[in-house]
């Protein structure tokens, strides 16, 4: 059953079916991790966890824990993912065995094909080639690029190591594929800072392109670029209208939430979202803003199937998005605001 779920179109299951599937499979996963990851067992024991009957009953592991501990449920680790660690000094470490790595790829393919079709497209990558050159220790950025690269061909990295646009290379690429659909991928901030800003006055025609970008708005919020502004400026400067942001965590690679034509992030069949009130951690209803918990059937080699993020978001609806996709759809409002320190806490120090 669980493997079949990746064969379906990823946005087909309606609430009842999906919940039944997820509860059943996540209970199995929880049991598996309980038996195979000692730290996870300690946590569930301490909190008096009992088998889940509803989605919200699963115990979420805070993402911070993947930075503090090496959590794994498998002895056969083939790859370790690390978060880019731009906002804090510690990085998440995610341990993958073959099975989990395969599921990640499978899930990603299903999701992307729904937006891109089955044909591999000529692909521009808004990054420098050296980002992906370390083969054994993957940063989240490299993992993202390599993951998405599966959907393209003629992979062309259009930035040099100093983040300057390789203009000749770009023009040549666009000329070669001017009559085809092309794929552009990059991290949101990079796309804005090093792509948009360097091409906006070049008078390019990118109306044949589809842009996927991810990585958060945090850096862009500071300079007041919203998703709407981002999209409209691209449309204006080069006719690029087919733009999809997507949301995902390094703790759950493969489980990504892609923005549909209506501007909503969608949960696929094998993943879900719960919004919780940050203090009591009680689940919130549709329309109420709170901290995002993500559930995914993919993580098997580490106990990351139910995680509590530090992002804030709102569930907008379920099964009824105008784009036709089933499942919950939501938006991400940003990161939890940093709390002010109270008490005799440190003045100086690192």
């Amino acid at each position: 059953m669980v493997n079949d779920v990746y064969d379906l179109n990823p946005y087909t299951l309606e609430r009842k079916q999906k919940e039944a599937l997820l509860i059943n499979e996540l209970n199995k996963l929880t049991e598996f991790h309980y038996k195979n990851c000692n730290e996870y067992k300690n946590i569930l024991d301490a909190f008096g966890y009992k088998k889940a009957e509803k989605l919200e009953d699963f115990f979420p592991i805070p993402v911070l824990l993947f930075k503090e501990y090496e959590l794994k449920s498998s002895q056969n680790i083939v790859k370790t993912l690390t978060s880019s660690g731009t906002t804090s000094s510690k990085v998440s470490k995610i341990f993958l065995d073959k099975e989990t790595a395969i599921l990640q790829t499978k899930a990603l393919i299903k999701i992307m094909q729904d937006f891109l079709g089955k044909k591999r497209l000529p692909m521009l990558i808004v990054d420098t080639k050296s980002t992906v050159s370390n083969r054994y220790k993957f940063s989240a950025r490299a993992a993202g690029i390599l993951g998405l690269s599966n959907f393209g061909r003629k992979h062309t990295y259009i930035l040099d190591d100093d983040m300057r646009l390789k203009k000749e290379l770009l023009l040549e690429f666009l000329n070669t594929y001017k009559d085809e659909k092309i794929l552009i991928f990059g991290f949101t901030f990079m796309v804005w800072e090093y792509f948009y800003k360097q091409i906006k006055d070049l008078n390019l025609d990118l109306s044949n392109a589809i842009l996927f970008h991810s990585g958060g708005w945090k850096k862009l919020e500071n300079i007041k670029v919203s998703n709407e502004v981002f999209k409209s400026l691209f449309a204006k400067c080069c006719g690029l209208k087919n733009i999809h942001n997507f949301y995902g965590m390094v703790e759950q690679v493969g489980s990504i939430f892609v923005e549909c034509e209506e501007g909503h992030l969608h949960t696929p069949n094998f993943a879900d979202i719960i919004i919780r009130e940050p203090i009591s951690l009680k689940p919130l209803a549709k329309g109420e803003e709170g901290v995002i918990e993500l559930l995914s059937l993919i993580p098997k080699s580490y106990p990351g199937h139910v995680i509590l993020t530090e992002d804030v978001g709102v569930i907008l609806g379920e099964d009824d998005c105008r784009c036709g996709r089933k499942g919950k759809y939501f938006k991400v409002s940003g990161r939890l605001k940093k709390a002010e320190q109270r008490g005799c806490s440190d003045t100086f120090g690192n």
Partner: protein, 391 residues
């Protein structure tokens, strides 16, 4: 930043090279007492800022007079002179600690330089404004109190450290370690207040679980959201019927709910993260609700002082005797709030055990009351010079 650009909040516009380093007052100078009395009155009016009112209460005339009486009684056969220039480094967010610090120092006649951080909030701005308004009425004090606001500039710390006779570092092991690297004059002293952890010890057999009791326990813990050094973060219980203990936690939770303390969103997650992280390290049982987390551990050595996030989290430990807690205590322990325990028994236990930790034993409800004896120091004597005349 260069020294000439240090921003003095009080007095405004003063330059670093104009700081008075050779004119001091006598201990308990009348003008200082008047200044503090007026400041107290002004702070007591600010009902919207609990911590400022608490400070105003501490500064009230009768309390200062009491300190004065004790001081002169203690040193009746000595001459006490100010130590000189005191450099105070306040913690970033106990808004009022720096006042407690400079007030004691001012009372013994020192010139005071205070570093406050760049984070500001309404409470601290109001406090500084009040100090400024009141201070201006006492010309003699004009060159006795300097408040500078700056970030982490080592150069500034170096300068103030080079001219001071005593350096007082409030709060945080990291701060202490960082500042300690900066040399002082060979004749200067340093007082450091490291990270500390505080307990309550309850003998529920002798406690009536009424509102007054919970009000006191709440004050000892939820003031500063349990993040002051003297905040109760762990509760030890002397042997008691399990149902009485259950009743204690249930009633305490209800009481907190009624008080409805305000947490920031991020704090809710921080608290949860900490509890999960504690569960990885040690065998614990967690009870959680919106208002409190109870972390049950089966022995004192399971306590993780560093992971404890404050924010309404309590360790719950059953112990056999007060001696058990005293024997366990380390240099990290500061305050023990007690109730239901007899003084003679406590004194006997302290003398017998000679505990490494705990510098204060107070009744439940008094943990937050600042006093001139703190972390085992008599601040008055450390901030002054006791002159020995033997002729």
């Amino acid at each position: 930043m260069i020294l000439s650009e240090i921003e003095f909040v009080i007095p405004k516009g003063v330059k670093f090279n104009e700081i008075n380093t050779d004119e001091f007052l006598n201990p308990f100078d009348d003008e200082v007492l008047e200044f503090l009395d007026l400041l107290s009155k002004e702070l007591l009016k600010l009902k919207e800022f609990n911590e400022l009112v608490a400070l105003g209460f501490w500064l009230r005339k009768s309390n200062i007079e009491k300190m004065k009486k004790n001081f002169f009684k203690k040193y009746e056969n000595s001459i006490v002179l100010p130590r000189g220039v005191a450099f105070h480094i306040a913690p970033s967010n106990v808004d009022t600690i720096f006042v407690y610090s400079f007030v004691l120092s001012m009372l013994v006649g020192n010139v005071n330089i205070l570093r406050i951080g760049q984070k500001t909030n309404e409470q601290i701005l109001t406090l500084i404004k009040k100090i400024e308004e009141v201070l201006i009425k006492y010309p003699k004090l004009k060159n006795k109190l300097y408040i500078a606001r700056y970030g982490y500039e080592e150069e500034i710390n170096r300068f103030f450290s080079s001219i001071c006779d005593v350096r007082i570092i409030w709060g945080g092991d990291e701060t202490v370690n960082t500042i300690r690297k900066i040399p002082l004059k060979p004749t200067a002293l340093e007082l450091t207040f490291a990270d500390k952890f505080s307990f309550a010890l309850l003998d529920l057999n002798n406690i009536e679980l009424n509102e007054q009791f919970f009000e006191k326990l709440y004050r000892d813990s939820y003031t500063f959201m349990q993040q002051a050094c003297s905040s109760v973060r762990a509760i030890c219980f002397l042997p008691v019927d399990i149902n009485k203990k259950k009743e204690f936690w249930q009633k305490f939770e209800k009481f907190i709910e009624k008080k409805n303390p305000i947490f920031e969103d991020k704090e809710g997650i921080t608290r949860f993260n900490a509890a999960v992280s504690m569960a990885i390290e040690e065998k614990i049982k967690v009870y959680r609700s919106k208002y409190l987390y109870v972390i049950k551990v089966d022995s004192l050595d399971k306590i993780d002082r560093v992971k404890h996030p404050g924010l309404g989290v309590f360790y719950d430990i059953d112990i056999d005797s007060i001696e058990e807690l005293l024997k366990f205590s380390t240099k990290k322990e500061q305050t023990l709030s007690l109730v239901g325990i007899k003084k003679e028994g406590l004194l006997k236990a302290i003398k017998n055990v000679k505990p490494k930790g705990f510098d204060r034993y107070v009744r439940v409800g008094d943990a937050m009351n600042f006093s001139e004896v703190w972390d085992g120091f008599d601040l008055f004597s450390s901030l002054s010079r006791i002159i020995d005349v033997d002729i």
